[in-house]
Subunit: 482 residues, 2 copies
């Protein structure tokens, strides 16, 4: 049996049992109840078997006292019972022919106590004896929207082409939500916690083949088998772009990772070597990971480092130019022809910046004229990337005036972008207020629906684009060498 | 006459005339109309004189055809008329004894055209001949909440102790709003555009003496008289902390600054030398500037670099630890006594991190016990700074469960903080969704009302704290040397 075949029961089970579907004192839902509810809400087509010693009914489904009483075969079991009762559960699952167990249950090696480590080792031994695969413990399991599996509410129901391997459950949910806001959709996501059996290498191996997945993002706290990891990540990166956030760097971070998922974090230097040799994109924060997913899903890498910046607001444009330069890009002056075209299009240049960056009162020139100017900018041989700055720092009152202007701009940019092969990016630098965010969210959606990548600052946009360029260049060299 | 005395008409006018109170075709308010409305909305106590050739009435005030017809003395005039008519206006203002003119009007040296430069020079000459001071052109003017002056809607009506000198108007408004969300309140803010007369040095000189101001933040695109600037910023920094965001670095940024406010940006190396010699805190983005204002208003500098991190969520805590280390801080392991105290307080350590960072199910232990633990952490000699992580990445549904927990924590942290001299910081790392932001906004307000500084990421918190520490150390050495 190929080890990765057995991951089918993790991502595509025909039936799921949930152990620990308990009612809580406070009337809030328990983790077990939530897993049942996710399957129902996300449209899981297979059988769902809630388990609890007290029996009864939950969400219209019969609750079975234990796994032995379930009437049909069970591909996957999700354990939400206390650690002390997991050994017995695993034995029962093996007897019933369960193929994979997701151990949401915590209290194993991550406690740092010897009992926890021993318990985890015994659970692994029992599972292996029963030919079962384990996810976790101390994890959330699989989100596979196409199959109706989820690990939280309000995650997109539609699938995409990005896979995410994430050791931390809460970070997995953050990443899915934050990336979804910017249009990224996922093929499969897995939160795998302590990685006592299925680990990052098994998962990467799985995604080498997975036909639903074009790109792979990963949040990893530690790796136990460094040699295998190095082999597998090379294999994966050779066929699909891979971006990794390695957490638990430095002494304190390593101790934190050990305490969180029982991971041996490894030295930062070793990680750098492994990742750069495999042409894996390395990022350093959750937000950078989201930015990189956006770049991978929505952007072609620019052919060079020359940028034209179309801004709204002078101060914003000046700072954007600084951030562009700091990231190694250049903002060349406009050629005289385009400058003249801009000048001719408006009556007065008061308050306008007809250079590069451009801050241009386009609404004075008419839509057709505006699109002509945009086309001139995009077709200009002197640039490789078009950046549109859409700051949203307005109050409700001001948004009434500003949003129609932004709409006008975006409509025309989207129209022109459709006929151009030049890479584009949009920066929506919004103020942290409710109104500004709501407006930003709408603009963001319009952008990603038109296939445009959105970033939340110029600095983060250029960081992601620079990484994309480096990655594509290396991938090309790699392909030529190979 | 001391040059700074004449800034009283800029910040504390007894009467303000607004030229160009035009009605617009679209029914939206014109800039001139908005300035009148700001004075009314923010409770300006002096005389308000709207001007427009057509006369009539606006907001219940008579509109005068021009400055000559205004019945009383005018301290400040705000010009919202086209550049071509500004010379005549200045001559009329001089004849009427106006003390200061705010030139909201653009279309001068920032256009890069010779006519614009000449016009600006002539306007300056006319103003000087009439003993008038000029703000701008191409600016927003003064926000002085105590005096009822504003440059936008929805800025705080109450004043504070932070001054802001900001060459860009839109950045000034962003900075006021973003900082206000985190509790920063301003004594006086000025957007001064092309700085044809009143420049950053005049303003810094003014704030040396200003009794309403304890700290000064500045966004500067360029300086014309480098020697004077160097002298004045030394003088200011010797008595009040100063933080500067220098925009227009690099060739492209300098060209952008020239196009935006006609500024000569100066080399980055020269700026570094000037600012570091004067012990001025240098930052590199608007968000870093806001973070630094928060640190200056709300934080004592920690005595050392040892941090205890109390988190919610394992993955969040691991990353926070990495970011802390990257910024040069250390996260020492908890001493055995405190570890035992934590262990004793909960029934099971499953899912908890009883190390440092700490992810602790405090709600199981009772409020009094929780406060005892917090006090032990704060009193522990091994740390210099207490960091509380409050990630808000939740959907509306989850917030119903999570917010009461966060409230419980914050209530107790605020109570314990009141009795401790150890510096504290709160990181609210919120997801960019409406619900999460609304919740974050409320939590944020509770924190700053209790005097706690709030940051939006661990990395940005530590960057600001590191700068605060460096600044305080240098200020101490400076005081000892002097």
């Amino acid at each position: 049996m190929e080890r990765t075949d057995s991951l089918d029961a993790v991502f595509d089970p025909a039936s799921v049992a949930i152990a620990g579907v308990a009612s809580t004192q406070e009337g809030l839902s328990s983790p077990g109840q939530r897993y049942v509810d996710y399957l129902l809400q996300y449209g899981f087509k297979g059988k769902i078997y809630p388990l609890h010693p007290k029996g009864g009914e939950f969400c219209g489904l019969p609750v079975y006292a234990n796994i032995k009483e379930v009437p049909g075969p069970v591909d996957q079991l999700i354990s939400c019972i206390p650690a002390a009762r997991v050994k017995e559960l695993i034995t029962d699952c093996a007897a019933r022919g369960v193929k994979a167990v997701v151990l949401h249950t915590a209290g194993f090696s991550e406690t740092g106590r010897e009992e926890g480590r021993q318990l985890e080792a015994e659970v692994v031994r029992l599972a292996q004896a029963g030919s079962m695969r384990l996810v976790g413990p101390n994890c959330m399991g699989a989100y596979h929207p196409k199959a109706g599996l989820s690990i939280g509410y309000d995650l997109p129901c539609e699938g995409g082409r990005m896979a995410l391997i994430c050791q931390s459950g809460s970070n997995a949910i953050f990443l899915i939500r934050a990336a979804a806001e910017r249009g990224v959709r996922f093929s499969k996501v897995i939160s795998y916690g302590n990685a006592c059996d299925i680990d990052e290498s098994d998962l990467m191996e799985y995604f080498v083949q997975d036909s639903e997945t074009d790109m792979v993002a990963a949040y990893i706290e530690g790796v136990k088998d460094g040699r295998r990891f190095r082999e597998v990540i090379h294999k994966l990166s050779a066929v699909k772009p891979v971006v990794v956030l390695k957490a638990g760097c430095g002494t304190a971070g390593q101790r934190a990772a050990a305490s969180h998922t029982g991971s041996l974090a490894g030295s930062d230097t070793a990680w750098n070597a492994i990742l750069s040799q495999a042409n894996v994109i390395r990022v350093y924060s959750l937000n950078e990971l989201v930015d990189m997913m956006v770049a991978l899903q929505f952007m072609r890498a620019p052919q060079g480092n020359r940028v034209v910046i179309l801004g709204v607001g002078g101060g914003v444009s000046v700072l954007a130019t600084d951030e562009c330069s700091a990231a190694g890009f250049v903002v060349p002056p406009l050629p005289p022809e385009i400058k003249q075209e801009l000048s001719r299009a408006i009556a007065s240049d008061a308050g306008a910046m007809l250079s590069n960056p451009i801050d241009f009162p386009f609404w004075l020139s008419g839509e057709e004229k505006y699109r002509e100017i945009l086309r001139s900018l995009l077709e200009w041989e002197g640039i490789d990337l078009f950046l549109f700055l859409a700051p949203l720092r307005h109050t409700e009152l001001e948004l009434a005036t500003y949003l129609p202007i932004l709409d006008y701009q975006l409509n025309n940019i989207i129209k022109v972008a459709a006929g151009s092969s030049k890479p584009m990016a949009v920066v929506i630098d919004y103020l942290a207020t409710g109104e500004s965010w709501l407006a930003a969210s709408g603009v963001q959606r319009r952008c990603y629906e038109a296939g445009l990548p959105v970033y939340h600052s110029t600095a983060s946009a250029f960081k992601a684009v620079a990484r994309l360029c480096r990655y594509r260049r290396s991938a090309q060299n790699y392909a030529m060498d190979g």
